[in-house]
């Protein structure tokens, strides 16, 4: 008998679309309800609506209390960080705990909010699990030497957020496992833990360590995973954007991508692109910048159906996006391929497999010629 817990996902939005699309790979959970806040206008729509993709066969609701009757566990997702914890989130945690539901929190919650959630759960005797808070043993010891990895490594990175990075990571995972290989993964979002792989280590995000220490620790972290899990392949999803967009849109400056690229040398890399009408010169320029700045050779592009909304972004001083339909970007994909660039639309299931196969194929060729 299947002992999977029924999972209610709140608030369901674009950040969790990849999770739902690949829900068959969740470890120990079966998605029973998707609930979005009424203000998002998603109620009654198919789950694929949120990221402009095909139907996923599960309908979004907006009544949280009603949905509680059809779940065992409630996942409070990343988007909660943009909502009022006291007014909106805490009452829902309370309602869920009152009904005996277990709680899962993503790393979006600060420590104060986590304490409140833990206290509520403890009182009601339900579990409260926070993702993205792996307690690592000290990884810093000895010198700053960067240790070589013996296992092929694939990076999945994006120019900006919203480039379907996690979708690409899950597509790779699926195909690698189908091909019979053992995969270890570090995901770009804490939802990775729902699929049984590692989320991006929290020591890379905080201020507890210097940037040099973070680079060394990340190297040690991946080396540890290699030693313990003995995979055939390691896939690392790099959160955030990998470069500044302009002086007014620094996009995190690509610091995390830079640090990861110093810690680990990849054997293959997938670059997520926000949608635009790229010409040959643009893509060549991007390949050159990534190579020079990060030392990474890009093997293929994953063209997202999300466009950067320049006007709003410049006005607000924050990244702002507009969602396009997944089918709309097919034309641009074809144009880029005709110019010789391997571009994929990972929301197209055929493309997702093809992209994964091309990466696996490349690594298999490398394995045939191994320096000793």
């Amino acid at each position: 008998m299947d002992n999977k817990e029924r999972l209610l996902v709140y608030p369901y939005g674009v950040e969790l679309a990849a999770v739902i699309r690949h829900r068959d790979m969740l470890c120990g959970y079966e998605v029973s309800e998707l609930v979005s806040p009424p203000g998002w206008g998603f109620a009654g729509k198919d789950a694929g609506f949120v990221d402009g993709s095909n139907g996923m066969g599960i309908i979004i609701a907006d009544d949280f209390e009603a949905a509680l009757h059809n779940c065992d566990t409630v996942l409070f997702g990343e988007a909660c960080s943009h909502m009022d914890f006291i007014r909106v989130i805490e009452p829902k945690i309370q309602a869920a705990a009152d009904m005996g539901k277990n709680i899962i929190l993503t790393a979006a919650f600060d420590s104060e909010s986590c304490k409140i959630a833990e206290s509520i759960c403890q009182e009601k005797g339900v579990s409260c699990k926070q993702l993205g808070c792996s307690r690592m043993q000290a990884l810093l010891h000895g010198n700053e030497e960067i240790l070589e990895l013996l296992t092929p490594v694939v990076f999945v990175l994006g120019i900006t957020e919203r480039t379907n990075k996690f979708e690409a990571q899950l597509a790779l995972r699926r195909r690698v496992q189908q091909s019979g290989y053992r995969i270890s993964q570090v995901g770009s979002t804490s939802s990775a833990e729902l699929f049984g792989f590692h989320s991006f280590p929290s020591f890379m995000k905080g201020h507890a360590y210097s940037e040099q220490q973070k680079i060394v620790m990340f190297n040690r972290y991946i080396k540890k995973i290699e030693a313990e899990e003995k995979p055939d392949l390691i896939v690392i999803g790099i959160p955030g954007g990998c470069m500044p967009i302009s002086s007014k849109l620094p996009n995190g400056f690509g610091i995390t991508a830079f640090e990861v690229s110093r810690a680990v040398v990849p054997d293959a890399a997938v670059l997520g692109l926000p949608y635009d009408e790229y010409e040959k010169a643009h893509l060549e320029g991007l390949l050159s910048v990534i190579k020079n700045r990060l030392g990474i050779e890009i093997d293929c592009f994953s063209l997202s159906n999300t466009k950067l909304d320049w006007d709003t972004a410049l006005q607000e001083g924050n990244m702002s996006y507009v969602t396009l339909d997944s089918k709309f970007i097919e034309n641009r994909k074809v144009v880029c391929r005709e110019q010789g660039f391997p571009v994929y639309n990972v929301l197209n299931p055929g493309d997702a497999s093809d992209m994964a196969d091309s990466i696996i194929g490349k690594l298999e060729k490398y394995a045939a010629v191994q320096p000793v």
Binding site: P37, G39, W40, G41, H82, V322, L324
Partner: protein
């Protein structure tokens, strides 16, 4: 890159010589000799290509003759998605009636627009429009609902219903409200309600009593409205002193009035001096007759602008500067921050500056439920309608309004002010059709005012000002 006829604009200030390079979207300071060589060879650079200074500019990627080939706004191919997912601001015309009869009002009969009328927005239409906002804002984190008229406070009950309805639906979004009002009906009940829900209030106030009351009169009595507004403001401040920071003023400056008096009022009058002001001249768009500015007005205003510049150079205390003229400086700052962003080249396909994406930046719903790009277009012009609460957006109309540059393609692609243009559809509307001729009639003013901005900007830079 082609170089023979550089796509540039030359101008000078008392302190320097400048090239505005359209492709690079950059102003470059140059020597007088270079300026004069460029001026003498503006249609063909080949005679001076060998000149050392010209060569330096060419080698650094300036002086290209590249121009746009096709006029199309970058959002055009994705317009459907913007309209489906990126709508973020809604303005509701709750009523076409008003308790004032302001002389310069666009609904006064002096403009090619509708007049005051008894049309009120029904509750059903208002709520449909609010639903439309929520279902078309997937990619917008912040939503704003603005109330407009006529005088929207004539429909306070409807305002409350709209706000309560929207707030119930808004979980997950950051929702804010605003209202544009003449301020005469702002009683205690309304003030308390607005304060409770943090509504931004924009009150129309034109200056001291004698200037304000000249144009802004009560409908029935014909008396001025100044005293009533001040009384209401006084009560509001007493009841909710902290909330006054959400109150700002829209100042329509009458060019036949005394500029200094208006300015002094907003600098010193107790109830208004600490609030934000947005000033504009009496609108000439759709006007049946234009209001000419008096010489004394122009002189006073220019002097106040000059004093603001002196302050920005650290040579005059702010207490001697105009709170209205600061807008001129802010325009220059905007030029620096958002308009003069360096580029490599004009694209093959691009649209001149000016148009916003109708419906996305904001959309205006009139009392009947028809959609317009904003409240500044004429409701009597069928060309301006972009949909309705019942039919949604009309993609074809939005496309036509967005790509207004297609009416004047040759003129636009050759114009040095291409990137900095501010002409939008309201300036091309001759009420029967969208007119290329009417659109082009604005071009001289655009180039003149843009060049003047460039000169002011460069002069401040010459004196060491950092924007």
């Amino acid at each position: 890159m082609q170089y023979n006829t550089p796509h540039i604009h030359l101008f000078k200030t008392p302190g320097g010589y400048y090239i505005y390079d359209v492709n690079r979207n950059t102003i470059v300071r140059t020597e007088k000799s270079t300026y004069e060589k460029l001026k003498s060879n503006s249609s063909d650079l080949s005679a001076v290509e060998g000149d050392e200074d010209i060569r330096e500019l060419l080698d650094r990627g300036y002086l290209s003759s590249n121009k746009v080939e096709e006029i199309e706004h970058h959002a055009t191919s994705m317009l459907g998605f913007y309209l489906e997912n990126k709508v973020s601001a809604l303005t509701l015309q709750l009523t076409q009636q008003c308790n004032l009869r302001c002389e310069y009002c666009v609904y006064s009969g002096s403009y090619h627009n509708r007049g005051h009328a008894n049309n009120r927005m029904s509750r059903e239409t208002a709520l449909k429009a609010i639903d439309f906002l929520f279902t078309h804002s997937k990619d917008a984190k912040r939503l704003n609902i603005g109330f407009y008229g006529g005088e929207p406070l004539l429909e306070f009950k409807l305002i409350k219903e709209c706000m309560e309805y929207a707030m119930k639906k808004s979980e997950g979004k950051l929702l804010t409200f605003g209202i544009t009002t003449n301020g005469t009906l702002l009683n205690d009940e309304i003030a308390d309600f607005f304060e409770k829900h943090d509504v931004s209030v924009l009150i129309s106030l034109d200056g001291p009593k004698e200037i304000h009351d000249k144009n802004r009169k009560q409908n029935i009595s014909g008396c001025g409205s100044f005293d009533t507004i001040m009384e209401n403001l006084g009560k509001l401040r007493e009841r909710h002193p902290a909330y006054m920071k959400k109150v700002s003023f829209s100042v329509v400056v009458d060019p036949t009035s005394n500029y200094t008096c208006v300015d002094k009022f907003f600098t010193s009058y107790e109830l208004v001096k600490d609030s934000k002001k947005v000033s504009s001249l009496i609108s000439s768009r759709y006007a049946k007759n234009e209001t000419a500015a008096q010489d004394s007005f122009i002189k006073e205003r220019n002097y106040e602008v000059f004093k603001v510049y002196l302050h920005k150079l650290g040579r005059l205390d702010v207490k001697h500067t105009s709170v209205l003229a600061i807008d001129e400086y802010n325009r220059l700052k905007n030029l620096h921050d958002t308009s003069l962003i360096p580029a490599k080249s004009l694209s093959r396909k691009e649209h001149h500056g000016g148009p916003c994406i109708p419906g996305v930046s904001r959309f205006f719903v009139n009392a009947k439920g028809d959609f317009y790009p904003c409240e500044r277009v004429s409701e009597t012009s069928d060309m301006m309608k972009i949909g309705s609460v019942d039919t949604g957006f009309d993609l074809e109309s939005v496309d036509r309004i967005l790509n207004i540059g297609r009416l004047s393609k040759e003129s636009c692609r050759n114009c040095w002010a291409f990137r900095l243009c501010y002409v939008c559809v309201s300036m091309a509307d001759d009420l029967t059709q969208l007119s290329g001729e009417k659109k082009i009639s604005n071009c001289r003013n655009v180039r003149r005012s843009t060049e003047q901005q460039f000169k002011n900007y460069c002069t401040l830079r010459e004196f060491g000002h950092a924007f």
